[in-house]
Subunit: 333 residues, 2 copies
Amino acid sequence: MKRYRVAFLGFGNVGRALARLLVAKSAELRDNYDIEWEITGVATRRMGWRASDDAFDPAKLLAGNDETASESGINEWLARAKPDVVFETTSLNPETGQPAIAYLKASLLHGAHTITANKAPIVYAYDELNEIAVARGKRFLFESTVLDSAPVFSLFRETLPAVKVRGFTGVFNSTTNVILETMEAGRSFAEGVKAAQELGVAETDPSHDVDGWDSIMKICAISRVILRMPLLPRDVRREGIRGLDAATLQGARAEGKPYKLLSRAIVNADGSVTPSVRPEQITFTDPLGGVRGTSLAVHFELDTIPGLTIISHRPNLQSTAYGLLADFINAVN
Amino acid sequence: MKRYRVAFLGFGNVGRALARLLVAKSAELRDNYDIEWEITGVATRRMGWRASDDAFDPAKLLAGNDETASESGINEWLARAKPDVVFETTSLNPETGQPAIAYLKASLLHGAHTITANKAPIVYAYDELNEIAVARGKRFLFESTVLDSAPVFSLFRETLPAVKVRGFTGVFNSTTNVILETMEAGRSFAEGVKAAQELGVAETDPSHDVDGWDSIMKICAISRVILRMPLLPRDVRREGIRGLDAATLQGARAEGKPYKLLSRAIVNADGSVTPSVRPEQITFTDPLGGVRGTSLAVHFELDTIPGLTIISHRPNLQSTAYGLLADFINAVN
């Protein structure tokens, strides 16, 4: 049995869902994986850099009434919390990945297994972060960044050795899925945004989703890690969903070929990648044709398997938290 | 770099596809996995128990003109071939799993990593075979038994720790899929069987597929390994597709709810499992609604992910062979 000191960088919806899941799965982790854990650090913009030699009480943390003093910055926080595992769930900066990249680097240099739900550090700094992890004998994992919790990176890392990826197509963004389906049903774009917000998938400003940036980040992350092909967001041909009106969407749906915002990467004969994000019509019998609502999916074409589709149906906050938990177990096992 | 002695128990379509794939992937295995291999044993009903101290020439083996003398039985064969890895692809005996179970046991007792494409030994003898493997520090793997090559067992073993499965639904049999779709298009059952045979998915006698036995074996294999719930074929409620006529199928299709032979296992509150195989109508927006032709799929309901679907599109012989190759790499890595 090993007792791991875990620390949370960011403690919003996802971090809190993870803390609840750790509590709920405590007995299973102990009995089946010889894993015990205690929380020794929590850092948020509001709370500051809280760390403790002893364990925090998860119930008090979740209730928001912990009174531990704040350290002055990430290095002091790491030195006090001495985490074996850091969970990073701070908010996304799609232009630079900062400050998350700096936090992840500090965490890895401290010698913690470092797990993130944040796409941007994968897009902008995967190689550097992974090299530090390897040099320290630690893991840098990020399963929940693409399909929330459905295995994508671990699928290729652990179960699909010696395959060549010829391309992939994704339905990577649930906000646009919900908006397009709302408009197909005869309602407005604004009502679609509202529906997506009520389902908890859209931000107050939905531009990042609607204009294709979220999808682009996921294409870049998969390309960099699985295809080993560094792509930056500016390399991806991009068209969001604002150009589609309700009549077009209703007609496409009636024709049995509704629009989805599809993310594609085609691996060319010379090894280069042609990536795009744009609305495309697909039939219900297409591998991704049945992906509706908040569900997310990716379809890979491989040299050894003509087509392999992974669909995560209606993932929720607990699913995202599970992606982080799975990384934790896989990192220490 | 390690050079593995590999031996083939059975050398029909799947075994030969694997030999070709090993040849095609030689450089990749050497460069990326430090794996070299040589074939030192091949056993088939027609050829007998051929084994050699030295390596066979794969080209000669595939051309069917190898002249190595035959040993007298499996133990003599193993003693001569001294395999590090045995690939078992003999024909299925759905009632008892023999003689494959005896072969697999001998292979594991000899100390070889043992990899099978055969469902029946999983259904009837998984626990015993796996115990021998664990005791010998070897692996007993069988990824290609359910979806040909798409990861199912390795998915749970390697990427989804600490999940509880609440149930699963599968489209596990491509022969029945092809027959039902042929009949939906207005042709006869016999024409459907012929279409499935021409696609290489149906046997001369399609009863094993048509009457649901193939699907049942897959339910039992998943239940035993992933749910840790031993189920035998007789425990599964079974209804094949012979009761469906063309008019019924065409009507269902026209209604947007075509029939598929669905395999289900529901995990009850008391931990017991309710398994069934029967034709059911599903809509195109069902997780498995888009699975057509020879594609295979499984949908899992998990405590941490509401729904996770894996679809293998139009798997071919090379895909099945890849399942065995992936097991080989995962066993020795």
